[in-house]
C-alpha cells in the first residue's frame, strides 16, 4: 500500500483548510467563516481588481487621430471608427490652414471584444487605456456596444501611470493618461 501515506495526508489537507476557514483566529475564538474564506460575497462586498487589470477599454478623445490602426489590428473587428477631415487655423499668422482628423464615431462592441489589448498596445497616440472597471454587463446584448462618449467616461477610472517593474520592456513614448 504505497498510496496510503499520501491518502492520509490528503485527508489532513482538507481538514486543515476546513478549520482554517471556520476558525481563522484559532479554535478558542468564535467561528467566523466569512473572515476565514478566501472568497468574498460578491454583490455585497467587492475585491479591488489589480491596477493593471484588463476590465474595460477607455478612450481619450483628444489624442485620437482616427488613424484606424486599432480597428485594423483588432482580431475580432469589434472597433468601429468614422471620421472626417477638418481645417484647423494655421499655427502661425499667414500660414496655410492645417488639416485635422475629427472623430465622428468610435464604438467598441464588448459583445465581440476578447480583451486581448492589441488596440491599446498598437495605438501610437496614447488614446486607448485599460481600466480595471469590470461591472458593465447589460440585460441586452446590443447595449454592450459602447459609443465614444461612454468610452470617454471610462477615462475617469483609468489609474495614473504606474512605474514599470524593474526589467520590464519599456514603451518609449508612454505618456501619462491625464494629459
Amino acid at each position: 500500500m504505497p498510496q496510503l501515506p499520501g491518502m492520509i495526508k490528503g485527508l489532513g489537507v482538507t481538514a486543515r483548510i476546513f478549520f482554517q476557514t471556520v476558525w481563522p483566529d484559532g479554535l478558542l475564538k468564535p467561528p467566523s467563516p466569512a473572515k476565514g474564506a478566501h472568497t468574498v460575497q460578491y454583490p455585497r462586498e467587492k475585491e479591488a481588481p489589480p491596477t493593471r487589470a484588463r476590465g474595460v477599454i477607455a478612450l481619450h478623445h483628444d489624442n485620437c487621430t482616427a488613424c484606424m490602426l486599432c480597428a485594423r489590428e483588432c482580431p475580432d473587428w469589434c472597433i468601429y471608427i468614422e471620421g472626417h477631415k477638418e481645417l484647423a487655423p494655421p499655427r502661425r499668422a499667414g500660414g496655410k490652414p492645417r488639416q485635422k482628423n475629427k472623430l465622428d464615431r468610435f464604438d467598441i462592441d464588448f459583445a465581440l471584444c476578447m480583451f486581448c489589448g492589441i488596440c491599446v498596445e498598437v495605438c501610437p497616440f496614447e488614446a486607448l487605456f485599460w481600466s480595471p472597471e469590470y461591472e458593465f454587463s447589460e440585460p441586452r446584448l446590443a447595449e454592450l456596444l459602447h459609443d465614444k462618449e461612454r468610452l470617454a467616461d471610462w477615462m475617469e477610472t483609468v489609474p495614473d501611470f504606474l512605474e514599470y517593474e524593474a526589467g520590464a520592456e519599456q514603451k518609449v513614448k508612454k505618456v501619462p493618461s491625464t494629459s
Partner: protein, 347 residues
C-alpha cells in the same frame, strides 16, 4: 377519553396506522437527506474549499434546499424523443423505492421500528440492489450513448462493490449470531470485551477491518467520489443522469443522498451500537424516544466520513476501481470472515 387512549384507538385502525407510517417514513427519508446535503454537501464541502457556500436563502443559506426544490419544480420535465418513455419515466421511482424500502428495517429503539424482520440486514442488502435496476433502466431508456455507458459502468461498479459490502456485514452477523438489526444492537449493548463492559461492545472494535471494507464499499455503492465513474462529467457528461431534468433529476438526487443517509445509519447500527449509548439500560423505554436521535447522531458521524472522503479524493480510473474491489476488498473481507469464525469458535 384521554388523549393517550384516543391515540391507541386511532393506531388500531389500519388506515390511520398506514398514513402514520407513510408520514414517518417520508420524514425518516427526507429529513436526514436534507440535513446531510445542507450540512456536508453545501457547508462542509465549501469550508474545505475555503469558501462560504450558499449564504443568501435564509440565515447562513439554511433555506437553500427549499430554493433548490422550487428551482427543480419549475424546470421542464423533458423526455427525449427517442427515449423508451415508460422506462425512462419510471426509473427514478425505482431508485427511490429501494431507498424507502431500506428505511423499513432500520431500528430506532427497542420498539421503535417499522418492521422487525428476523432477516433485517439481509433484507436491507437485498433491496439496496434494486437501485441498480433503476440506474440500468435510466441508462438504457435515455437513448443516449453517455447515459448507456454511465448506466453500464454504474451496474458494473454497484455489483462489484456489493460483494465486499455483503462480506463485510457477514463478519458482524457471525459475531452477533443474528441477522435481526435490533438484536445486533442489543448484542452490542449487552456484550463486553475482556470483562470491560461499560461501553458494551460496539462491533467497530472487533470488526474494524469489516468497518473499513464497509465504508469503502458504501462509498462506491453510493457512487460518491472517488468512486463516481458512472457520472464522470469529463467523459460521460453526467452518465445515466444526462437526459434527466426537473423533478425526475431531483428524485435521482434525493435517492442518491437519501441512500447515503440510510447506509450511514445501517453502518451505525452494525458497527457503532445503533440507538444505544452507554450509561442507560438497553431495554429502557427511554430509547424509544431518544433512540432515533442517537441513531441520527451516529449516522451524521459516519456520513461525515463519507463526505470527507468525497471532498478529498480525486476520481478513480475504471480499471483501478474494479481492481480495488476484486483484488483487495473481497479477499480482505474473506480473510476477515475466516478470522472472525475462528475466534467465534475458539472463544
Amino acid at each position: 377519553m384521554t388523549l393517550a387512549s384516543l391515540f391507541a384507538v386511532a393506531l388500531d385502525d389500519y388506515w390511520v396506522t398506514t398514513i402514520f407510517r407513510v408520514v414517518i417514513g417520508l420524514v425518516a427519508v427526507l429529513l436526514p437527506t436534507g440535513t446531510l446535503v445542507y450540512l456536508f454537501l453545501f457547508k462542509m464541502m465549501s469550508f474545505m474549499q475555503s469558501r462560504l457556500g450558499p449564504m443568501e436563502a435564509g440565515p447562513f443559506g439554511s433555506l437553500q434546499l427549499l430554493a433548490e426544490f422550487g428551482k427543480f419544480l419549475q424546470k421542464e420535465d423533458i423526455t427525449p424523443a427517442k427515449a423508451d418513455k415508460w422506462v425512462f419515466r419510471l426509473a427514478p421511482f425505482v431508485v427511490l423505492i429501494s431507498t424507502f424500502l431500506l428505511v423499513l428495517v432500520l431500528p430506532g429503539g427497542p420498539d421503535a421500528f417499522f418492521v422487525n424482520l428476523d432477516v433485517g440486514i439481509y433484507f436491507a442488502l437485498a433491496v439496496s440492489s434494486i437501485s441498480v435496476i433503476g440506474i440500468l433502466m435510466a441508462g438504457w431508456a435515455s437513448a443516449s450513448k453517455y447515459a448507456l455507458l454511465g448506466g453500464i459502468r454504474a451496474a458494473g461498479q454497484l455489483i462489484a462493490y456489493e460483494l465486499p459490502l455483503v462480506l463485510a456485514v457477514l463478519g458482524v452477523v457471525i459475531q452477533a449470531e443474528s441477522l435481526n438489526m435490533n438484536t445486533i444492537v442489543a448484542r452490542q449493548a449487552e456484550w463486553e470485551i475482556f470483562g470491560f463492559g461499560f461501553f458494551g461492545m460496539p462491533f467497530i472494535i472487533t470488526q474494524f477491518v469489516g468497518f473499513f471494507i464497509f465504508m469503502v464499499a458504501i462509498q462506491a455503492e453510493l457512487t460518491q467520489p472517488p468512486f463516481d465513474m458512472p457520472v464522470a462529467e469529463s467523459e460521460l457528461v453526467t452518465g445515466y443522469l444526462t437526459e434527466y431534468s426537473g423533478i425526475r433529476f431531483l428524485l435521482f438526487f434525493i435517492g442518491e443522498f437519501a441512500t447515503a443517509a440510510v447506509f450511514s445509519a445501517i453502518g451505525a447500527v452494525l458497527f457503532l451500537g445503533g440507538w444505544w449509548i452507554p450509561g442507560i439500560d438497553a431495554s429502557s423505554n427511554l430509547f424509544n424516544v431518544i433512540g432515533p436521535l442517537i441513531l441520527a447522531g451516529k449516522m451524521i458521524l459516519l456520513a461525515f466520513l463519507i463526505f470527507w472522503f468525497r471532498v478529498t479524493y480525486p476520481r478513480f480510473r475504471e480499471d483501478q476501481l474494479q481492481k480495488l474491489a476484486w483484488k483487495f476488498l473481497i479477499p480482505l473481507a474473506l480473510v476477515n470472515i475466516f478470522v472472525t469464525s475462528v475466534f467465534k469458535v475458539v472463544f
